[in-house]
């Protein structure tokens, strides 16, 4: 493509850009007007949705394309509604809402193994044999969950996930894992609910002896988790998990087929739709998992035909929906996986693990969006000269700031060691302004 004009656009891209402009009138209406006000009133509560891309997404094919390089692969960049920011041609809907999103293109993390990478990206700390660090969702549950007295369901919900640990913050801050259908297993039957009261009374009496004997924290943690489970079982906020259930007092509608379609009918889209309902009832941190990124082979076909259409729908729908509801400024969106993928393309037309230079997406949350921060070099192999390299702690410090959690917060591990929030990361200046 040699037809670059003075604005850095070729004709095809220019046409697409025009199409984007024409679509600024919402293509999809996510809410009835009756409901709009109720949502706006509630929306001053801060929350975060983490879109976790398990397996390590090839950000070089999604957010930071290198069409001029031998590493560039098959995809072309397109312009977005954020001026000067281009993303993959297979993310056209996301391109339209990109003025509300941002990229950090100079992530340089050190872990290229799934387990270690996941731990590092979600906790900001590298694995250490003597301490289990809390995943950031657990930090939010600990810092913000305790102030949400009206919240009866867990403050950290993970949809289709399960790896995050609360570590030294304690099991009550562990993620509550559900699948994307929102079905909660082992809910009590009506008869079971009637029996609950006398049974729990009996339980309290029976286990008090063991609890008072000195055997560490597990017995108490067990009791606390039971208390949370009982809260959950008896709460009408459970309606948030079921996208087909309405509850006027919570401002929840039964989601229309059109809305479900707009998010995408796959697990990721439906998970995001559920996430929106959960933050409507006050859950401060929801993680939505999308797997299938460990693309050691056939990367372009898989992206083009499977992953990116789902990703594009999901991201664009949640962004537009939150915005229409007036919730976007209070909801930070974070998109990341355990690492990026090698700029070089392997013999199986795949990309392997790569942590040295890759991208994370952020959005909403009142951040100064519509930018791409940092850059990689022309082949994507390293952070470009003069560009600052970012660590996971910097991302989470930015999120903390957007959510009103003091960045200088220090937690104490069980053996009394001070643990800085987000491992002492610094909020990204360009995003917080």
């Amino acid at each position: 493509m040699a037809l670059w004009n003075n604005y850095g656009m070729n004709r095809r891209h220019f046409m697409q850009h025009m199409a984007t402009a024409a679509a600024t009138v919402p293509a999809m209406n996510f809410l009835s007007h009756v409901q709009a006000n109720a949502d706006l009133v509630r929306s001053n509560q801060k929350s975060c949705i983490l879109m976790w891309m398990g397996g390590g997404p090839p950000t070089i094919d999604i957010w930071d394309l290198k069409p001029e390089s031998k590493n560039g692969g098959e995809f072309r960049p397109i312009d977005t509604s954020a001026s000067g920011v281009q993303i993959s041609e297979h993310m056209p809907e996301t391109a339209k809402v990109f003025s509300d999103l941002s990229l950090v293109r100079s992530m340089s993390t050190r872990e290229a193994d799934h387990t270690r990478g996941r731990y590092y990206m979600q906790t900001s700390y590298v694995p250490n044999p003597t301490v289990v660090h809390p995943t950031f969702g657990s930090v939010v549950s600990y810092e913000i969950g305790k102030n949400r007295t009206a919240l009866q369901i867990p403050a950290f919900v993970s949809i289709d996930g399960g790896a995050g640990q609360a570590g030294f913050l304690g099991m009550t801050h562990a993620p509550f894992v559900v699948d994307n259908t929102g079905r909660i297993r082992n809910e009590p039957t009506a008869a079971g609910k009637d029996r609950l009261e006398p049974r729990l009374t009996m339980l309290r009496e029976i286990e008090s002896g063991f609890m008072q004997s000195r055997r560490g924290e597990l017995p108490k943690a067990h009791k606390d988790v039971y208390a949370n489970a009982v809260n959950l079982m008896t709460s009408k906020q459970m309606a948030a998990f079921n996208v087909s259930q309405a509850d006027a007092s919570l401002g929840l509608e039964a989601e229309s087929q059109a809305t479900k379609d707009a998010y995408g009918t796959g697990g990721f889209g439906q998970g995001l739709l559920m996430a929106r309902r959960l933050i409507q009832v006050g859950v401060p941190f929801v993680e939505v998992n999308m797997g299938g990124w460990d693309l050691h082979q056939g990367v372009f076909d898989t992206l083009k035909n499977q992953r990116l259409p789902l990703l594009d729908k999901g991201i664009s729908a949640i962004t537009a929906d939150l915005k229409q509801r007036g919730m976007l400024d209070n909801t930070v969106l974070v998109w990341m996986g355990e690492f990026g993928r090698t700029p070089s393309i392997n013999q199986n037309v795949g990309r392997d693990h790569w942590a040295a230079s890759w991208s994370v997406m952020l959005g909403g949350g009142g951040l100064k969006n519509g930018q791409a921060i940092g850059a990689t070099d022309k082949d994507g192999l390293q952070i470009a000269d003069g560009s600052k390299a970012y660590l996971p702690g910097d991302i989470w410090a930015t999120v903390a700031m957007a959510m009103g959690i003091p960045v200088n917060t220090v937690h104490t591990s069980k053996r009394g060691r001070p643990m800085k929030l987000a491992n002492g990361g610094t909020p990204i200046q360009e995003l917080i302004g």
Partner: protein
């Protein structure tokens, strides 16, 4: 013998580890200068002259002394018998089993019970479950036969096969996945065409206790391992390939999965890998400094199998150290290193001398797994109460301290243990039924609700079972629990509670079935008072009592 633990207690972050290791070795060097031949003679004669059983207790006690703590009292028979059943058989004792042990007055009854449990079919089942999960995960990957893997381990544990032979069989396995079940370990690691990278990473971690996977891409930041080491290990696994067979489905005519097999593929010479700088490097098959001929006609996996049991310098073979560490962690909740599969100079062990001697003797005893288990479970430390006092409350590995094993640490029941224990409790009146295999499928289906598979090249997964809301909901409301607390004719509750007899006896039965102990007098009084509140609905009261016992922290936590 000093253990170096006083120093190690101060270690916390990885950042400190390196410096501290050097500090320890400096101290040791100084000592040997001062004491000269004394130290040398101690190391040879001194350590081996005491029996291993004495040595274990001695080394553990040394740790208490070095850290100025006092151990807890010994566990009661009630505490101990529940623990040993859960650890060895993967379930709580039945009412009859518990009663029989507690009534036995023989002073040797603990070692007698250990022997009988080691000969129990549930021992085989338990370790088959554990090792099948270790090898292929809880979610069976595509084109892997769990049936085949379980059959392999069932036979291995039932026949008391030496651990080194089991491992060599797994690593060198070829053939049909049900005819030679050992191949399923390899098949599970070959989910993607990755030149055996995942197989290399998993094999070193699981069987050698070494985490070299990070050196796939770069030199290890904290230890001596270099990138070439990963690829040297990897070059042993380049002659492995698999074939997935398909067959036509007679009704639809479409091709469907048939069996899979592990086959040999020709591979000679070095493997090539890329440095971060982009420079290509070569690595030849080499195991701890021992080179293997990279030429034609050499079966590299077979060579790997031979090298596995060779000592590493003055240390016992990795495979022995790794198994000792895993077994210790199985019984105590914590191994000598954390995590158990990451041994090496960057991660000092809590009791290095003890671990080394156990590994040496394990190797010398022909890798007899049951012998290793006996050494561990008949030690003083295993028989301690899980209750601690002021004098050893600092011994808290959950808070990041180095474990000193001065009291038993609580272990959350694994999902399989919970399932089997609930079955035992609900059939408590029909002791010794056996016939677990019928329940195998049901248990596995039930398990799936607590497992999340990540579908990546590490094939990893996580369980959402321990201490979570889904677990609590299952314990409170599930069909399994409903069945356990059923008062239908023929159920445990119905049969026991409708028998004539004093109420106190019935309450004792429920306590014994669920917690393997009698209620204290205070507890008995409290429970009787609560039951009185049920009036004529007494059976409902027993039902709620049993529900509460099974939901209590004392039931859920292996103590």
């Amino acid at each position: 013998m000093r253990t170096g633990m006083t120093t190690l207690r101060w270690l916390s972050g990885l950042g400190l580890t390196l410096a501290a290791v050097q500090f320890v070795s400096t101290v040791r060097a100084d000592e040997s200068v001062q004491s000269g031949t004394d130290t040398a003679s101690l190391l040879t004669a001194g350590t081996e002259s005491v029996s291993l059983a004495e040595y274990i207790d001695q080394q553990i006690r040394q740790g208490w002394q070095d850290n100025d703590i006092e151990a807890s009292v010994a566990a009661t028979d009630e505490e101990w018998v529940r623990r040993i059943y859960l650890d060895l058989l993967g379930r709580i004792p039945t009412l009859a089993e518990g009663r029989a042990f507690l009534a036995d007055e023989s002073p040797r009854k603990r070692s007698v019970l250990v022997e009988s449990l080691l000969a129990h079919e549930d021992y085989v089942r338990n370790f088959t479950t554990i090792w099948s999960n270790n090898c292929i995960g809880r979610v069976t990957p595509r084109r892997v036969s769990r049936k085949g893997m379980e059959k392999f381990f069932r036979e291995a544990f039932a026949k008391d096969r030496p651990w080194n032979e089991i491992v060599v069989d797994i690593i060198t396995a070829s053939g049909h996945y049900e005819e030679n079940g050992a191949v399923n370990y390899i098949l599970a690691q070959l989910q993607m065409p990755d030149n055996g990278v995942q197989l290399t990473a998993m094999t070193t971690r699981l069987f050698l206790g070494l985490q070299v996977q990070c050196t796939q891409c770069h030199n290890h930041p904290f230890n001596k391992w270099q990138q070439d080491q990963f690829w040297e290990y990897n070059s042993f696994f380049r002659q492995v390939d698999k074939v997935d067979h398909s067959k036509p489905d007679p009704t639809s005519g479409r091709m469907v999965d048939d069996y899979s097999e592990v086959v040999w593929q020709e591979f000679t010479g070095p493997v090539y890998y890329e440095k971060r700088s982009g420079v290509m490097q070569v690595a030849f098959p080499r195991f701890e400094g021992r080179d293997v001929d990279p030429g034609v006609g050499i079966d590299r996996r077979e060579e790997f199998g031979k090298l596995l049991t060779q000592p590493v310098g003055d240390q016992p073979p990795h495979i022995a150290q790794a198994m000792v560490n895993r077994m210790w962690a199985h019984f105590f909740g914590y191994g000598f290193t954390r995590p158990v599969d990451d041994m090496g100079p960057h991660n000092p062990a809590s009791h290095p001398d003890l671990q080394a001697r156990l590994a040496r003797e394990f190797a010398a005893a022909d890798y007899d797994v049951k012998q290793l288990i006996r050494w561990i479970v008949l030690s003083e430390a295993y028989a301690l109460s899980s209750q601690y006092g002021d004098k050893n409350e600092v011994d808290d590995p959950a808070a990041g301290e180095i474990p000193l094993f001065s009291h038993m640490y609580l272990k959350s029941m694994q999902a399989e243990q919970m399932y089997d224990s609930l079955i035992v409790a609900s059939n408590a009146h029909q002791a010794g039924q056996g016939g677990w295999s019928a329940q195998e499928t049901q248990r596995r289906q039930w398990m799936q609700q607590f497992v999340v598979a990540f579908e990546n090249d590490e094939n990893d997964e996580s369980t959402t079972f321990n201490g979570t809301i889904p677990q609590a909901l299952m314990m409170m409301n599930s069909e399994l629990m409903e069945k356990a607390c059923s008062v239908e004719r023929g159920s445990f509750l119905f049969e026991s509670m409708s028998k004539p007899g004093p109420e106190a006896q019935k309450i004792q039965d429920l306590y014994m079935a669920a917690l393997t102990r009698q209620p204290t007098r205070t507890e008995l009084g409290k429970v009787q008072k609560m039951l009185n509140g049920y009036g004529l609905q007494k059976l409902n009261g027993y039902q709620d009592l049993f529900w509460a016992l099974l939901n209590s922290n004392e039931f859920v936590l292996n103590h």
